[in-house]
Amino acid sequence: GCGKTTASTSGSKGYAPKKLTVEFVPSSNAGTIEAKAKPLEGLLKKQLGIPVTVSVSTDYNTIVEAMGSKKVDVGFLPPDAYVLAHKQYHDKVLLQAQRHGLTEPGDKANTELVDYYRSQILVRKDSGIKSVKDLKGKKIAVQDTTSTAGWIYPAVEMLDQGVNINKDGIQTVTVKGHDQGVLSVYNKNTDAAFVFQGARNLVKKDEKDIMSKVVPIYTTGKIPNDTITVRGDMTGKWQKKIATAFKQIAKTKKGHAIISSVYTHEGYTDSKDSNFNIIRQYDKKAKALDK
């Protein structure tokens, strides 16, 4: 179990872990995820030389709170969660995950590794909706208002295009999960849906014709990929050590296979807090939208 790992032995220079606790929460744009912790535990332990425990959660509230209470040292956080964690507990971002870029049509993965993803507005091909302007007076499936790809980005960018989602006669339907957003368009329950790019792949198994029937009319700007974040009080030495360890793992064949199959991470690049200012801007605009 996760014993008395992180007794707060932080000296003047900060906290140096004797045992590392890592928690993972899938980002919304991960197509396949597995609740597996053990393989990463082994890999990290080998790199760092201290015991490591990895756990998985489906919800990022716990991970932020647990990092706040110093029960978790390293968290795999989605960008919005990172922003909140930084604000509340001064947690520090080390790395961002890289995934394969996607090309239209059909959301096919290309060979390029990118540290961002995008959001899309999907409609039915036979609906006659061709542009954002056509969405006025329509019904849109959205995710919860805390969702970056399922609400904040597309809503804010729609406003930039002159369409206010809270006015202009638009009706929003909050759905749970991006697959549900895709399906609600497919089933004609809504006219459009905000989902992350690649969400149609989720339902491809169930509905073979999804790619031809449901198409994007708009793709947003870049959203930073999920992060690897550490407790704010961790010593600089250990921060570096952990960052190197993850990058090292991504480079080995075995390590790459594991992070790719379990977390759909293809690699890691260095990151800094200012990368997320864009998220903060969008958040602010989205807040204004609510008013």
């Binding site: 179990g1 996760c2 014993g3 008395k4 919800d59 990022y60 509230n61 932020v64 709170e65 209470s69 029960k71 909140l84 509340q88 919860d144 208002t145 805390t146 339907v173 909050t174 759905v175 749970k176 999960g177 549900q180 399906l183 609600s184 089933n187 329950n189």
Partner: protein, 264 residues
Amino acid sequence: MMTTQVPRRPWLQRWHVKPIGWTLVILILLVASSRMTGVDVGMFFNNLGQFTDLLVRMSQPAWDYLPVILHPLYETIQMAILGTTIGATFAVPFAVLAASNLVHNRWLRGIIRLMLDLVRTLPDLLLAAIFVAIFGIGSTAGVVTLAIFSFGMVSKLFYEVIETIDMGPLEALESVGANKLTIIWYAVLPQIMNQFVSYFLYTLEFNVRASTVLGYLGAGGIGVFLQRSLNEFNYSQTAVIILATLVVVMAIDGISNHLRRVLL
């Protein structure tokens, strides 16, 4: 004179074989489970402050959030009422068929019970997910999930009650020459009516509470808002949601307690 021979106890009792055996089994299970789950009592008490941290942050409910959640709260109650009613209605005939004192055909009873057991084992999360897939996001999925869940729960509670009823009136009606259906109507239903009401309300209350979870999967109700408040770390809103649910649950509990006394 005072030396009466105390009779010897049977061997099993003398050495307390059964109690000691049970204690041992439970102890072993306890130790094994603690190992497996990493129980560490000391740590919990050391970090009690962290535990109460959230409570402190919840201690100032954001009352202006109340109007926002009223509608979803109503929706939760409405879903719970319909789901419980549908589930409980279907539960009655199945409970009768599963009761060993009414149905003597072992096979029929066995099959019915197996069916009820299977229904009961389905985790409500899974049910919600499946029905969201079939009915789409919204109340229908919630109602159907709660109905199936209530069906499983009520039918079991119910056949256990039926098995404890007084068989006397049944005998009396049998000796009068009544047939099965009449016997159930005249001798069984009056005896279980108040328990039925009590269990119905109990399930209703359970379902109102369950909706806080079902919302996570898009089956409607207050759960959506609970998750949103948690994701925004807005615990003063969480507190309002919990308190509002508490009022509903207490109302149901109160009605149930009252009816239990009145109908008894």
